[in-house]
């Protein structure tokens, strides 16, 4: 694996560098001005992503505010992730993937029972990861809202049909986010094995923070 290649173009000095195992949660605080790079190490690995304002975590990422403000459901270079109170939380300063998802939400044991059947009840799911990370940080179920899915592809057809389809990412592709305020990043490295969001094979992702 080309470990150093993942660092190309990062502004400033690397202050944190961590490999998140397949299927695992991750929580990290990023200060205003720092840049978080998410690396899709092996390709087409959905990274479910939530943000909380570190100073006041009732303020959090809002997919709907972000969609309304940019009049588009996809995140691309230049997109600003807005909070539920309309404030910029992070800006996508670069990404080597065409677009990322904001409408597909996170998989859960419960929604898996609807989408695939009750036989999936004991499988890993993103909402459990979000809960695990948030519970240790003083938040709970009502703090889980619509999330970003980096490296996930959810097109909407002309008739309204939407779905998670084959990814448009590839090994080593990245997204760089500059923090516009002090944020707490909560991630589920998606464990889903019933749809193409992880190519039916969850893999590690790399999280690099530069300041």
């Amino acid at each position: 694996m080309e470990q150093t290649a993942h660092l190309d173009g990062l502004p400033g000095r690397v202050i944190h560098d961590e490999m998140v195992p397949a299927r695992a949660p991750w929580l990290h605080r990023v200060k205003a001005g720092e840049t978080l790079r998410v690396v899709d190490v092996e390709g087409n690995q959905a990274v479910d992503f939530l943000l909380y304002a570190t100073a006041d975590d009732a303020e959090r990422f809002s997919a709907q505010d972000t969609i309304a403000a940019q009049a588009n459901i996809f995140l691309r270079t230049g997109s600003t992730l807005l909070s539920n109170e309309g404030r910029p939380m992070m800006t996508i300063v670069a990404t080597s993937v065409d677009y990322h998802d904001m409408i597909g939400g996170a998989c859960s044991c419960e929604s898996n029972s609807l989408r695939y059947g009750h036989h999936t009840k004991s499988q890993h799911a993103c909402v459990d990861n979000f809960l695990e990370a948030n519970l240790r940080d003083g938040r709970g179920k009502r703090d889980i809202v619509s999330n970003v899915n980096f490296f996930m592809n959810v097109p909407v057809e002309a008739d309204g049909t939407l779905g998670i389809v084959d990814g448009i990412s590839a090994p080593g592709l990245t997204v760089d986010l500059r923090a516009e305020m002090d944020v707490t990043v909560v991630v589920s490295n998606c464990p889903q094995i019933n749809n193409p969001c992880n190519g039916f094979n969850p893999t590690p992702v790399r999280m690099i923070v530069a300041a």
């Binding site: 505010d65 009049a71 939400g105 419960e110 029972s113 609807l114 009750h118 009502r142 909407v156 779905g163």
Partner: protein, 271 residues
């Protein structure tokens, strides 16, 4: 000097207001002369016209119906839904569109909770212009658009209206979750663009929601967040009545395997 210098005069003044009728107000006890066939006045639970820029919140029992009427064609009902018995369970808008493989809620659609259950179904819908993507306006967006977005000003924003409605059921900032906007529509272009369809529409379009669980509904009636016009919103009428719990053979319940399993999960809660 006011003529209301003593409490007796103040009481007379206050009581003289009784019987005042305005367009946007609740009717108690509820009364409606346009109920569907088979529904009687005895079944009524709620009759209220929600002001332009106003809000309402209400607990409704499983099986009840809520009819919303866009009286003058320019209402925008931003809706939150909670499980009344356990409000940490609430509308999950991402699951709602993803599970049903459908971006555009319409007749037969379900609003799903984050626990894989159906909170509400769209029993009838002659509007079919709704929006699961753009969410509520907030103080910041209204400030940009109208110069002010405060609850106490002339251009209140939907988020702060929802917050007041939720607070009256003991809920707070963490509970104002992503909403659905009823009566104002959007379509999504192939490039992901949001294409609004905000009217104004013909007066009188209506929607009948069926509560599939005991729910708390919070409704804000403020201009849609991407509405480019000067402040434009008109009153919204809400009428609710008791009704039967959804039968096993119900066509909405059985329409798709995903919807059926959402009902199975809900029925399991009430077993």
């Amino acid at each position: 000097m006011s003529a209301l210098a003593d409490p007796t005069a103040a009481r007379e003044h206050a009581r003289a207001m009784a019987g005042t009728v305005v367009e946007a107000m609740p009717i108690l006890p509820p009364r409606a002369d346009d109920l569907p066939a088979g529904v009687t006045g005895e079944d009524l639970l709620w009759e209220e016209t929600i002001a332009a820029g106003g809000y309402a919140s209400r607990a409704l029992p499983r099986g009840s119906r809520l009819r919303l009427i866009d009286l003058r064609g320019d209402a925008c009902a931003s809706l939150l839904v909670f499980n009344a018995a356990m409000p940490t369970e609430r509308l999950n808008i991402a699951d709602t569109v993803k599970v049903q493989w459908d971006a555009y809620p319409a007749a037969g659609s379900l609003l799903l909770s984050d626990m894989g259950r159906v909170l509400v179904s769209f029993e009838q819908d002659d509007a079919a212009t709704h929006d699961a993507f753009c969410g509520a306006s907030n103080a910041a967006s209204n400030s940009v658009h109208y110069g002010d977005g405060s609850n106490s000003g002339s251009h209140p924003n939907a988020r702060d209206r929802l917050l007041l409605g939720a607070a009256k059921h003991g809920l707070s900032r963490r509970d104002v979750h992503p909403c659905i906007n009823l009566f104002k529509g959007v379509r999504i272009g192939a490039d992901g663009s949001v294409i609004p369809n905000l009217g104004p529409f013909a007066p009188g379009r209506s929607l009948i929601l069926r509560a599939e669980m005991d729910v708390i509904l919070v409704i804000a009636n403020c201009p849609h967040v991407v509405d480019p016009r000067p402040w434009s919103v008109t009153p919204l009428r809400a009428t609710a009545w008791r009704g039967p719990i959804t039968a096993e053979s119900d066509p909405i319940r059985t329409a798709t395997p995903e919807r059926l399993r959402a009902f199975l999960n809900t029925e399991d809660l009430y077993r």
